[in-house]
Symmetry: C2
Subunit: 363 residues, 2 copies
């Protein structure tokens, strides 16, 4: 299939900062963006050629959207599977329904990891308090109970420090199908942001090391402080996932790094079938940003170079009130400020980020 | 005056590729763009939050535009002075009318250069064939007759190789006030792209060396192959112009480099009171692009770093049919493709450009 020529339109489901940065990347390549989002103040609207404000189950709006675009993609994994199925009947949606079905359910993610012979925390599906009691005996404490679907940034999670916490944890899940995960005593958290093109070409950016605060990504550095063999393993695992899911586009796999007799081992924590916050450093720190890479893949273009543009790179999120520092950051030599143009700086809301290049690799 | 906060709107007169790249740069900083242009298929519309399609003398449209924006700027120097005057009565226009008046008239440009003690080609204002004959005797041949106003990319110019060409050259000017310029036997053409902030801070990018084909910029490399003292002189001249014009924003000065007893001397050729094609390499080759730098200045922000991100950088324009190579360029490792999203690849039309970083400075 030939690549979509400049002038073609990429339809993007979701109008947040990821959709915004995808739209900006598309326009550099001469491609137009059409944003589909339910919120009328979506930050991506300000940089796109066209917009549809409608809910994800509005079939008439989706039909018109499909008629106005050449390919569809999405900026978040919680877009309803039915929406993607409906669009897929009319135009290509990349990545496809298979990737979405896997990433929308933590049990599917971890089951695929097992099939691919990739390590994860111990886990079990939980549908009742009885299930929970039973599996707690095998998995032990501390452990974490999470909803299988729709969790992000620590939402829909409950810690179980001892068996007596079980009932409260299950109540917090509000009867939603859940997953019990054994606690992992990790040394660090890293992610692999990678892309697979329409022709199957695969490229991974340097592994990124992530530091969270209050369950939200605070800071990423690249390359991650990791043994070379573990870094290679991370990219190899990402490739296996991409091939298993027949993936097209950028995705991220979050890993726990555990030290096992002095050797770094990677356990899959989560898969995001989209551009990812931990890949934001690529905007200034890699030859091709993850956003351009995703657009290239989705449009059927060859992937761009993933080479780093400096020995190291750092990304710090500007969450909520952090954004008030914009003037200070704007005046800092060599700081790359990215402001998402959101009106209201609510607590916990991602308002922007700042990238910095490092003259040495992190150590 | 405090800087315009993110969420503010930059009004941009002109909707071509320069307006488009300005709008993209603004959005990275959380600023919105409102494009004002007469053409309904302006490439900048696709990446801006708002647009006005109206002629530059439509006072009602200009009034509404002024009411919807926080500051105005322009992407080309041939915006009518009356338009800028009219807007200036309602909102700040940066750069201001003074810079525009200078840059719109080749005699004004060169007169200012003389006042600032900066070299130019020999020149004289021409209003009649008698003027032309008279000044040809002093300036000699070869020389060039140009309209004082509205010339670009070689339009409105006629070469005079010998005195007998004078009548034809004057006819080609169609009675417009003109300028006779002595021929300069230059070694190379270079430009200084620089910025002055609202608080008077001045920063110049590395001097760029430019190669033209058919009077249109074909290729730029940075840093220019120039003696260090001439490079310093270029930046110093740019600063003098900026201060004399009370300039706010990015501008470019094009110079001829002449070798004078083995020493590089700079003669001012032209001033562009706007972002400039010869500064496109900064998008990938400098910490701050000229587009972000202009937006920073216009919004009253501190200027960004002008440090180069590699020992050298190259920009090649994609003119007319050149754009057909987009697939080849997209597949070239390390090539930064910028496609302007214009529908029709007319001959001589700037359709895009490609940047490449060089591992060594040009020599």
């Amino acid at each position: 299939m030939p690549p979509l020529p400049p002038g073609s339109t990429i339809g993007i489901l979701g109008g947040g900062q990821l959709g915004r940065m995808l739209a900006l990347a598309a326009s550099q390549l001469g491609l137009k963006s059409h944003i589909y989002a339910p919120e009328d103040d979506s930050p991506a609207f300000d940089v796109s050629a066209a917009r549809t404000i409608a809910s994800y189950d509005d079939e008439a709006a989706l039909r018109a959207f499909a008629g106005a675009i050449d390919v569809a993609t999405y900026e978040f994994e919680n877009v309803p599977a039915a929406t993607v199925d409906f669009l897929s009947g009319m135009i290509p949606v990349r990545p496809g329904a298979k990737a979405l079905a896997c990433a929308q359910d933590r049990i599917n993610e971890k089951t695929l990891a097992r099939e691919l012979n990739v390590g994860t925390a111990a886990f079990a599906p939980i549908s009742s308090l009885e299930d929970l009691h039973k599996h707690l005996r095998a998995i032990g404490t501390p452990s974490v109970l999470k909803t299988r679907r729709l969790g992000y940034d620590g939402k829909g999670q409950a810690k179980i420090l001892e068996a007596s916490d079980a009932a409260a944890a299950w109540t917090a899940m509000r009867n939603q199908p859940s997953i019990l995960e054994g606690f992992v005593n990790f040394r660090s958290e890293v992610s692999v942001v990678a892309a697979r093109a329409l022709d199957g070409t695969f490229r991974a950016f340097d592994v990124t090391e992530n530091e969270h605060r209050d369950h939200i990504l605070h800071r990423s550095i690249a390359p991650a402080r990791l043994s070379p063999s573990a870094a290679e393993e991370g990219a190899a695992i990402a490739r296996r996932f991409a091939e298993a899911l027949d993936y097209v586009g950028v995705f991220a796999i979050e890993f726990f790094v555990v030290s096992d007799s002095g050797r770094d081992t990677l356990l899959v924590n989560e898969i995001a079938p989209r551009v990812h916050n931990s890949g934001h450093w690529t905007m200034d720190g890699a030859v091709t940003s993850q956003f351009e890479q995703h657009i290239r893949a989705v449009a059927g273009w060859p992937l761009g170079s993933v080479a780093m543009r400096a020995p190291g790179a750092e990304m710090v999120n500007l969450i909520g009130e952090d954004i008030r520092d914009w003037q200070k950051i704007a005046a800092e030599p060599g700081a790359f400020l990215h402001h998402y143009g959101k009106r209201e700086a609510r607590a916990g809301r991602k308002m922007g980020h700042v990238n910095r290049l490092l003259s040495e690799a992190p150590n």
